[in-house]
Structure formats: C-alpha cells, structure tokens
C-alpha cells in the first residue's frame, strides 16, 4: 500500500448546498500533502469527513487499506482551524484527558507529555490553567496534544496561525521530523510560502470540486510558462528592444540589479530553446541575469481558480 489515505468520490450536501461534489484524493504514505482552496471551498468539510465528524452522503474513505471506522480515531491527529482548550482546566490534566480520548493510558500519556513538554520547553506549565497562558503557549500545547498519540495521519488546518516566527519555525521543524518518523501529514493553509516549502503533493479544491491534484513539481511543470527573466546591458539599447519585441513576447520585468540594465520577461514559443535565446542575447550585450520563471503555488492557485 503506497497510499495511506484514499478519498473516493465523496459528496456531501448541507440541505440544498453541495459542500463536496464527487471529490477523490489520494495521499501517498509519508508525504506532506497540501490541501488548498479559497475560503468556503469545502476543505474543512473534507477534513471533517476524514475525521468522521461529518458523514459523507456518498463515497468512501480508505485509511491504510481499511474502510474508515471508529477504531481509526487513534490513528488520526487533528488540529482544527477553530481550535481551543478548556480554559479553566489545568494544562496537564487537560492534555492527559485528551490523550485518553485518543486511546492512550494515563501513565503512557504522562510519560509522553513530559517528553514533549521538555522538547518544546513547556515544562513548568503543567499546573497552570489555559486562561493564564498566552495564545502562543496555548497553541504549543494544542500542537503537543495533536501529535501525542503518534498517529499515522496528522491533519493540520492552518497550524502556524497564532505563532510568532520563531515558534512557527519550531513547529515547522517538528512537522518535518514527524514525517521523517513515518507520519503522513495533511496540511491545509492559505500561506502559500509554507506550502512551497513543505509540501510534496497538493490538491486544490474550488467550489466543492477538486480541480487539481498531484506532485507539486509535476504541477509546476504543467503550469510552466516558458518565460525567462533577463537582465542585459545592451550595446544598442533601442535596437535590441525593437528586435526583441518583434521576435518574442516581451514584458517589463522587475528585479534588483547593480547597474542600469534592460530588464525583461521573455516568453518563448513552443519549440524555441532557452539556449538559442541566451546565445542570441550574448551577441547583443552583457547578460547579467538569466532565470527561468517557475510558477509559484500562489500563481498556480490564482490561475487554477480563475480558470474554473
């Protein structure tokens, strides 16, 4: 089994509103899977279906080769976007309670908590109430509670919100470490730079439909725009500009250079090779900058959503 989770043709209606329309996604074992989509697209509904909070009207979910059932609760760790803890309960008590709900024994929960609390430097909060802690501290505890039972599948919905950059980085490293230890991670966020940084695979949900899914690199190739960012000090500026605009699809580029240079984005036609462009350019001036423009997740996101 190469796939940890398979969502097959899942649909879900709320009254007349279709929240999920025949959505299928496949999440490879050991991957960090980015679940993207605009607000209200149906991401949260899909995550809730996987967590058995919401029952799908049709379709099935397969976790680790088995149809999803109540016993899989202990295999999933879920950090929802709308999250919180019992405000008037003590940190330790609360974490043990939540771990017990995930099937850990009290003693086991205690040992693991001690380890995690030390790891994330939250040792002396054990007897404090949540309402006495800052938001960032509470978020750390929430993170620990999510991963404590060492689930196969971790689902993080906007995990970095509420963290300062230092702690966000700490959590990011922990997520990567958990993946190395064998966990599969579903990662839902609007912060595209973290998708870029963390995700191996992505799926894009828009208006209740899945409109894109695959390896991040494959998708990037698919959305390749054959455009190169060029910086050049031309021998004859006016002539080169004229020639280029006749031969290629050219637009103004914007990046930092030391000298006053001609900065352009040049789009190649089907069959044209970047090397030919480069050798053409070297004849016309000093080339200081030649970079292929790779579409960012952000660009792909906007383009895919607009095309639909």
């Amino acid at each position: 089994m190469n796939n940890l989770l398979e969502v097959n043709n899942v649909s879900k209606y709320f009254g007349d509103f279709k929240a999920l329309n025949d959505v299928s996604i496949t999440i490879p074992r050991g991957s960090i899977f980015g679940l993207l989509g605009p607000n209200g697209a149906g991401k949260t509904t899909l995550i809730r279906v996987v967590n058995q909070i919401t029952m799908p009207d049709s379709g099935s979910v397969i976790l680790d080769g088995e149809a999803l059932s109540q016993k899989h609760v202990k295999d999933i760790g879920y950090l929802p976007e709308e999250r919180g803890l019992y405000k008037s309960m003590k940190v330790g008590e609360q974490a043990i309670y939540l771990a017990q709900l995930k099937g850990l024994s009290k003693a086991e929960a205690k040992t693991r908590l001690k380890y995690w609390f030390e790891r994330l430097e939250i040792g002396d909060w054990w007897n404090k109430k949540i309402q006495e802690l800052s938001k960032g501290m509470a978020q750390k505890i929430q993170f620990v509670v999510t991963v404590l039972h060492e689930p196969k599948l971790l689902i993080f919905d906007e995990p970095f919100s509420g963290f300062d950059p230092i702690n966000a980085n700490l959590i990011k490293d922990e997520i990567l470490r958990l993946r190395e230890n064998g966990a599969t991670v579903i990662f839902s966020t609007h912060r595209m730079e973290s998708v870029e940084e963390l995700c191996d695979d992505i799926a894009l949900i828009h208006k209740s439909n899945k409109i894109l899914e695959g390896k991040l690199l494959d998708i990037k190739r698919q959305y390749k725009i054959n455009t190169y960012e060029v910086g050049i000090r031309p021998y004859n500026r006016a002539l080169l500009e004229k020639e280029l605009s006749e031969k290629f699809n050219v637009s103004k580029a914007n990046f930092r250079t030391l000298e006053d240079e001609l900065k352009l984005n040049i789009k190649l036609q089907q069959g044209e090779k970047p090397n030919d462009l480069l050798s053409y350019l070297t004849d016309k001036g000093e080339v200081s900058h030649f970079v292929e423009l790779i579409p960012s997740v952000n660009d792909i996101f906007i383009q895919a959503v607009n095309n639909n």
């Binding site: 709320f14 009254g15 809730r48 967590n51 058995q52 909070i53 109540q70 016993k71 609760v73 202990k74 999933i76 879920y78 950090l79 929802p80 709308e82 999250r83 919180g84 803890l85 019992y86 405000k87 008037s88 309960m89 309670y97 939540l98 017990q100 709900l101 995930k102 099937g103 929430q142 509670v145």
Partner: protein, 437 residues
C-alpha cells in the same frame, strides 16, 4: 472505543471542582438559614412594638369586648367628640381610632363603624376587630331574642365523612393533605432540579463551543457520547450538591436552633399562638396522629420507585433539550428564544399539578397531562400518592422513555450540526433543516 466513563468523570470533576459551584454548595444553606433567622428576628422586632388602638364607642354596645392581647392594646375613650378623639390619637401617636357611632334605634350596622388611622391599617387588626364586634353583637342579639346560648353551643355537631374506596381502602381528608404535600414536593423538586441543572448542562455545552475545543473533542468521540456524558456527569454533580445541601441544611438548622433556641421559643407570632392553642386541643392532636397514620397509608414502595423512574426520565428528557439549545447557539443571551418552549410545559405541569390534581386527581385533565411526555413526570408524581393504577404508570413511563429516546435523537442531530456552527443565531426553521443534514 467507549469513552463515556471518561467524559462523565471529567464533567463531574470540573463541575465539582469549580469555585462558584463550591461556593454555591456551601454558601446556599448558610444564606438560606441566615435568611430564615433574619426574617424571624425581623418579625420579632415588629412584634415587640405595641400598637395602641383607641376605641370611641358612642353606642356603648361593644366597648367592653376589647381585651389587650399580644402586641395590641386598647384604649377606651369616652365623653369626647370624634374630632377631639382623632386629635388625641394623632398627638399621642396612637395606631388608630375605631369610632362606633351612637345609635338611637335599631341595630348597629357597618355604616356606623369607622376606623381612622394615619396609614392604612393592618389587615389582621381590622379583621380581628370585626370578628370581635361581630361575635359580641351576635351574642347580644341571641340574648335579646331569648335564645339559650348554652343550649345552642351544646347543640353544635361536628362531623367528618369517612372515605373508603370500593376495594375497602380507607382514606380521610388528612390523608389527602399528606398526599398532596408528598406529590407536590416530588413534582416541585423535579421542577427545580430540571431548571438548575438543565441550565448547567446548557452552559457547559456553550462553553465548549466558545472555547473552540469542541472540534478537537468530537474528532475523538461521537457527539452522542459527549452529550450523554455531559448530561450524566452534570446530573451526578447536581445530586452531590443536593445531598450536601440536605445534610448541611439539617446540621445548620439544628445548630441554629440550639444557639438561637431560646429566642425562637420566645418568638410569639400569631400563627404560633394558633398552633399552640390547637396543640392543646385534643381534636387536633388526634388529627396529628391521623397524619402520621396517613403517611404510613401512602403507597410508599410505589411512590419511591415511581419517583426515581419519573424523576430520571423527566430530567433526562429535559436535559437533552437543554443540551440541544446549548449546541444551537453561540452565547447565553441567544438562548432566550429557545428557552420558552422548554419552560412553558414545565410551568404548565406545575400549575396543573397544583390546581387540578388537588381538585380531582383522577379527572380528565390530570389524567391526560400525566401521559403527555413533557408534563407527565411532574403531574404523574403529584398524582401517584392518590393511587394511580399500575397500568397507567407503566404506560406513562413507556411514553416518557419513548419520547426521551426521540428527544435524544433529535437533540443529538441538532447537537452534531450545531456545535460546529459559529457566529450565527439559528432560527427554528434552520434547526429543522439541520435534522436532515
């Protein structure tokens, strides 16, 4: 995985360890006893003040009947005009003036009697005066008409009808009173319990929503389990509180009466006087014995079993509704519109219990409402002391259990959807829609 015991334990412990819960548990009986002591002290203060009532009897018919008693003393005025008497009472700061007009012929009637006072007089005082004058005048009339008063007294007969059911079960008026007290207490206890702890369940559901922990919890637990755990845990906390109240209340009562014992014995309210007089009366003493007998006459086994079953059934029915309301809203202020349909049948049940069950415990109204699930626990509990056929009790209980299961199903639906809905106040129409989700 069955997490129910775990959830119940958490709900129970958080409730019991909550500071305001502890305060309520231990302060309420104290406050209650203090209040009683305070009221007792106040009425004593009030009783210490002697009211001076002046009487100006120009007819001369009744001036001898007024005898100083308790906190009222009479001052008989003679040989002055009404205006002078008024001035005198006002100057001496007397309580008031009863003026009885001179009658030249015929009888003393209401229009001849006037009470003057600065403020409106005490109702008890006026009716005391009225009854004194009334019995004196009646006596005078009888003597005038030549009726032998002694014979009249001796000829008075007191009867009491014995009651017996066709099966030969004997009852009496006293029995009915004892039954009423029992039924009323049981019904009222359930009513109070539902209101106090139902609200507590609702608040704890709202708390989970506002603290946003709910989604974390229900990714591990079925909403139904969470709801049942909450209801049971809170109820256990409620029972704990009730038991502590009863124990603490009786201990404090004993202590208070020991410390204030002398004071309380000295306290002579009019009611107590009546009671004391009554105690001396052998007839009433007999009635007291009857009461004790009536208590043992009650279908006690039936009563206790029915009390437990109907209490649990009724409480669970209502508390699942409270849980559903908590799930439907975001904060406590929004609960108002949904509270009415819950409170209404509850209040209705108590009123039906008080007004119709007393009058006719087996009449159509009482019987019908002791089957309707939302009112049946209270009404049936009030009816049972009067003897309700077992088949009726069982049928009513079955209906209650069936509707409890329906309500839990219904509440769980609303609960399941509602706990994940934030930021909007749902209408009834939306609640119905949620059921289909």
């Amino acid at each position: 995985m069955n997490h129910l015991p775990l959830i119940i334990k958490r709900e129970y412990l958080t409730k019991v360890k909550n500071k305001s819960f502890i305060m309520m548990t231990f302060l309420s009986p104290l406050i209650f006893i203090a209040l009683i002591a305070f009221v007792a002290y106040l009425s004593q203060l009030n009783n210490d003040k002697i009211r001076v009532v002046s009487i100006l009897d120009e007819s001369g018919l009744v001036k001898d009947v007024f005898k100083n008693s308790g906190n009222t003393s009479y001052n008989i005025l003679e040989g002055m005009s009404v205006e002078d008497a008024k001035m005198l009472v006002l100057e001496t700061k007397g309580y008031g003036l009863l003026h009885i007009d001179d009658i030249t012929e015929g009888k003393l009637t209401s229009k001849d009697l006037t009470f003057y006072s600065e403020e409106s007089p005490s109702l008890t005082l006026i009716s005391n005066l009225e009854s004194e004058i009334q019995s004196e005048l009646t006596l005078q009339n009888r003597i005038r008409e030549g009726i032998d008063v002694e014979k009249l007294k001796a000829s008075r007969v007191n009867i009491e009808i014995n009651q017996e059911s066709f099966e030969g079960e004997k009852t009496s008026k006293v029995d009915s009173i004892v039954k009423l007290i029992f039924g009323g207490a049981a019904g009222y206890l359930l009513f109070m319990f539902i209101i106090i702890y139902g609200n507590m369940i609702m608040r704890s559901v709202i708390e989970e929503k506002t603290s946003r922990i709910i989604e974390v919890i229900i990714s591990s637990v079925k909403p139904m389990q969470l709801m049942l755990g909450k209801i049971i845990g809170t109820s256990l906390a409620g029972i704990t509180q009730f038991v502590i109240w009863i124990i603490l209340g009786s201990v404090l009562m004993t202590v208070a009466s020991l410390i204030l014992g002398i004071d309380m014995a000295q306290m002579e309210t009019p009611q107590q006087q009546v009671l004391e007089q009554a105690m001396e009366n052998p007839e009433v003493n007999l009635q007291l014995q009857n009461m004790v007998a009536a208590f043992y006459n009650l279908p006690l086994t039936n009563l206790i079993i029915a009390f437990i079953l109907f209490f649990i059934g009724g409480y669970l029915l209502y508390s699942s509704l409270y849980a559903a309301i908590g799930a439907a809203v975001d904060n406590e202020t929004d609960t108002q519109q949904f509270m009415l349909p819950i409170i209404m049948p509850l209040v209705l049940a108590v009123y039906i219990g008080i007004f119709t069950v007393i009058e006719d415990p087996h009449g159509t109204v009482s019987t019908v409402f002791s089957f309707i699930p939302l009112t049946s626990p209270v009404v049936m509990l009030m009816r049972i002391p009067f003897g309700v056929p077992i088949w009726q009790q069982v049928l009513s209980l079955l209906i209650l259990v069936a509707s409890f299961m329906f309500t839990v199903w219904f509440a769980a639906k609303i609960y399941r959807v509602g706990i994940l809905m934030y930021g909007k106040k749902p209408s009834y129409k939306e609640l119905i829609k949620w059921i289909k989700y």
